[in-house]
Symmetry: C2
Subunit: 436 residues, 2 copies
C-alpha cells in the first residue's frame, strides 16, 4: 500500500496547493441550492474499490461548487479563519499517527504536548501561571464543560447568567443542562450591566471578550468582583478575540480575565490553526476532574498519571496539539503578532472608509478586526445589499442585529487577506448600494 | 507560500509513508514515564518562525518515544483501529479546505456529503430507511446527545438505564446531565436482564451491541418491546461492533436495532476511518432538532435548509464526511467486508489456540473480533502477565473484569494485522506466562 500512498499523497498535496493558489478567484459563498450536491452523487455506496484519484476527481467536479471558501482571503463573514500551511500539514501527520488520547499511556506524547502547547499559548497571552489547559473541539463544548463543572459545585443554583449579546452557546448550554438562563441587558456599547446580574442565584456567569455580533467587551473586572463575592463560577468566552491577547498593546481589553475560573480561546479562529482547536484554560482543574473523571475498570492502568479524558466530555481525543504546536513554531510569536497587527490595520482602514463616506455609518466601537456598519437606509435595504454582495461571489460578509437594527459585519481574520481584498470588499459594497 | 507548501507537503507525506512502513517494528505501548516528553521540550514558545522540517525533526527525536502506536498491526488493546491510507489523505484535504459546517450555506458540500455518507453506511448495515444520521466526534458525545434529546421529551423521568457492562459513557452522560443511573445486572453471558430495567421511570435506555469489556450483546428485541410499551427512548450503542453489520452473516447479532430511537456506530474504530468519526442515526430527527436547534440572529440566512448544527452540541463541525466518503469509496463494500472477515478469522484462530492450550481459558462468548481469556491462575498473575507482555513492546493488550475476575482482551481490528502478528501475540503471552 505504501507506494500507492506516496503517489496518492503527492496528488493530494498538489490538489491542496493548487486550491490555495486559486481560492482567491473562486465564488466565496457557494451558489448552489439545497439538495444540488446530494443529487449529483450516487444514492448508494460502491461495491468495488475505486482509486483515490477518483475521489479527487469528484471533489473537483461534484463537490467544489458546494464549497463556501473559508480559506478565501475575501471571506469576511462570521469570524474569518485560516487553515495555515503548517496547520494543514500537521493534520496529515495527526491522521497518519492516528493517536487516540484516552489515557495518558494511550499517547503520552499527545497528552504532554497538549498540556505544553496550551501553556505556551497562556504565556503568549499574558495569563498568569496557575491556569491549566486542554483542547476542546469548539467553544460550544468548552462553555458546556465549564458550566457542567460549575453546576457540580453549586447544584443548588440552577441558573446561568449571560449577556444579551453573548454567543448562543450559553443559551444552548443552559437548555442542554436544564438550567434557567438570565440574559442580562447591555449598555450603549453592548456591554453586560453587572449590577443587573442575578449573580447570587447563579452557578456560573459567562462574560464575553469580543462578542459574536459586534465584538463588544463585557466589564470583566466588575463582573469578577461580583462573582467572587457570590461564590459564582466565572467563565470568560474569548473564542474570537482571545487570540489578540498575544498583542501587548491590546492587553487592556483583557483586564480581569486572569480572575476567571475558566477561559475559552479558539486558535482555529484567528491563529491559523485548522478547525477544530478550542483551548479551555481553568484555574479549577480539580473541579473539572471531579465533574468529569470516571475511569472504568477496562481503562485502569498501572501508572497514576492524570488523563485528559478526565476533564472533558469525549473519552478519546485527536492529536490536535500537534497542529497548534506546528503553527506556534512555524510562525513564532513574532509571525503571529505581525499577521494580527496587519488585520487590525486593515480593519481600521476599512472603518475609516466607512466613516468618511456619506450615507454609511459605523455602528459599534471597533476593538479588534471586526467592523460593524450599515447603509443609512432601511433594514430591508441593508439586507438586500448584503444578499447582493454575497450573491456576486466576490466577497462574503454576514450580519447582526444591534439595537433592533440590521447591520453588516466585516470580519478580517484570514492570513492571506491583503489590502486589495479589503478594497475590493468596499468597492463591491458601494457598487451594490448604488444599484439598490 | 505555496512552493514551500509543496516541498513541506512532500516531506510530510514521506514521513507518514515511512512511519507506516516501519510501525510494525516499533514498541507498541510507549515506554516513557509521565513527564518525560514535556521535560524534553522547551518551556516557552519560540519568538521567531521555524521551518516545518524542524517540527518533523522534533517529532522524530522528541515525541516519537511518547507515541503508543495505534497504527501498529500488533496493537490489540481496547478496540484496535486503523487510520487507513485514503482516510489519512482525506484529512489533508479536510484541513486544506478548512470547511466549517455551521449552517448549510457555510458548506453545502459538507452537510450534504455528511447526510449522504451516513446514509450509505446505513444501507451497508442493513438498517431500514427512516434513519437519518450525522457525524459526532465520539460515541461519548453521541450518547450524551441522544440522552439530551430523550430527556427533553420526558423531563418528568430523570433516570437513565444501562447495563452494568455498558460503556462508561452512559454513566458519564447521567452524571453530566444530573440524571439518576440504573445499572442493570446481566446474565451469564453478560447480557442486560430486561425484566430488571426500571423502564417506566426512565427517559432513556442504552442497550449495547458489543460491550467494551467482552463484546456481549444485550437482548435488543426484548428491550425494544419494553421501551416501546413504556414510551422510553432506546439508544443502541454499537460503537465497536456496529461496523460488523456490513457482514450479512453477522446480521443476527443486530436483531431489533432497527427499532431503536437512535444508534451509534464508530467508523473510526473498525472501518478504517482515522479518529474522529462517530455516526449517530436516529428515527427521531425532529426530536433532536427540537432539543438542540437554536439559530441566533447573526446566523440566520436567506435559505431555509436544515443545518447540522441544529442536531448537535457543537456549533461548528469539521468536514469529517470527506474521510468517510474516501474510505467507503477506496475500499468499497467488498474491500471492507474482506478485512472484517479476515479479522473474524484471526480472532477465531486465536480463540482456538487458547481453548486448546492447557492452563488457559476463554472466558466469554466470542461474537466479533474480541477474545476474552485468562491464564488459569490468580488475578495478580494475570495482571503481571499483561504488564510483562505490554512492557516487552512487542504487543499491546488491555484487560477487563468479568464476574470479578481479571481477564485479558485481544482485540483485532487493524487493517494491517496478519496471522503472523496474532501468532506473535500468542507466543509472547505463552513466553511471559512461563516466565512468571
Amino acid at each position: 500500500m505504501s507506494e500507492t500512498f506516496r503517489e496518492d499523497g503527492a496528488l493530494a498535496v498538489d490538489w491542496v496547493a493548487s486550491y490555495l493558489e486559486r481560492v482567491r478567484e473562486l465564488p466565496v459563498l457557494s451558489q448552489v441550492e439545497p439538495g444540488d450536491i446530494r443529487r449529483a452523487l450516487p444514492v448508494s455506496p460502491p461495491d468495488e474499490p475505486e482509486p483515490f484519484s477518483a475521489v479527487l476527481a469528484d471533489l473537483d467536479s461534484i463537490l467544489a461548487p458546494g464549497l463556501t471558501h473559508w480559506q478565501s482571503p475575501r471571506f469576511f463573514a462570521y469570524f474569518a479563519t485560516t487553515g495555515s500551511e503548517p496547520g494543514v500539514l500537521a493534520e496529515l501527520l495527526i491522521a497518519g499517527l492516528n493517536q487516540v488520547g484516552i489515557l495518558w499511556r494511550t499517547s503520552p506524547a499527545l497528552q504532554e504536548l497538549e498540556e505544553l502547547t496550551v501553556d505556551w499559548l497562556r504565556q503568549l497571552s499574558g495569563l498568569p501561571e496557575g491556569f491549566h489547559g486542554h483542547i476542546e473541539d469548539t467553544a460550544s463544548t468548552g462553555v458546556l464543560a465549564a458550566v457542567i463543572a460549575a453546576r457540580a459545585l453549586r447544584p443548588d443554583r440552577p441558573l446561568l447568567v449571560v449577556s444579551e449579546h453573548a454567543h448562543s452557546v450559553g443559551e444552548k448550554a443552559a437548555r442542554l443542562l436544564d438550567l434557567e438562563l438570565q440574559k442580562v441587558p447591555t449598555d450603549d456599547e453592548f456591554r453586560m450591566k453587572p449590577d443587573l446580574m442575578r449573580v447570587d442565584e447563579a452557578c456560573a456567569v459567562v462574560a464575553t471578550i469580543g462578542t459574536t455580533g459586534m465584538a463588544s467587551i463585557d466589564p470583566v473586572p466588575e463582573i469578577a468582583d461580583r462573582c467572587s463575592a457570590a461564590g459564582t463560577w466565572l467563565h470568560v468566552d474569548a473564542a474570537y478575540a482571545g487570540s489578540a491577547a498575544i498583542l501587548p498593546e491590546l492587553r487592556s481589553h483583557f483586564r480581569g480575565w486572569e480572575r476567571a475560573d475558566s477561559i475559552g480561546v479558539n486558535p482555529h479562529k484567528w491563529l491559523g490553526v485548522p478547525v477544530d482547536c478550542s483551548v479551555l484554560w481553568t484555574r479549577r482543574h480539580e473541579d473539572f476532574r471531579n465533574a468529569f473523571s470516571l475511569v472504568p475498570e477496562y481503562l485502569r492502568s498501572p501508572d497514576d498519571a492524570l488523563n485528559l479524558s478526565e476533564v472533558s466530555i469525549p473519552l478519546g481525543r485527536r492529536f490536535r496539539a500537534l497542529k497548534l504546536w506546528a503553527v506556534l513554531r512555524c510562525y513564532g510569536r513574532v509571525g503571529l503578532q505581525e499577521r494580527l497587527r496587519e488585520h487590525l490595520r486593515l480593519a481600521e482602514l476599512f472603518e475609516g472608509w466607512v466613516r468618511a463616506e456619506p450615507g454609511w455609518d459605523v455602528v459599534a466601537p471597533r476593538h479588534f478586526s471586526l467592523v460593524c456598519f450599515r447603509l443609512d437606509a432601511s433594514d430591508e435595504d441593508n439586507e438586500r445589499l448584503l444578499e447582493r454582495a454575497n450573491d456576486s461571489g466576490e466577497i462574503f460578509l454576514s450580519h447582526a442585529r444591534l439595537d433592533g437594527r440590521y447591520v453588516l459585519r466585516l470580519a478580517i481574520g484570514n492570513f492571506r487577506t491583503t489590502e486589495d481584498d479589503v478594497t475590493l470588499a468596499w468597492n463591491v459594497l458601494r457598487r451594490e448600494a448604488a444599484a439598490l
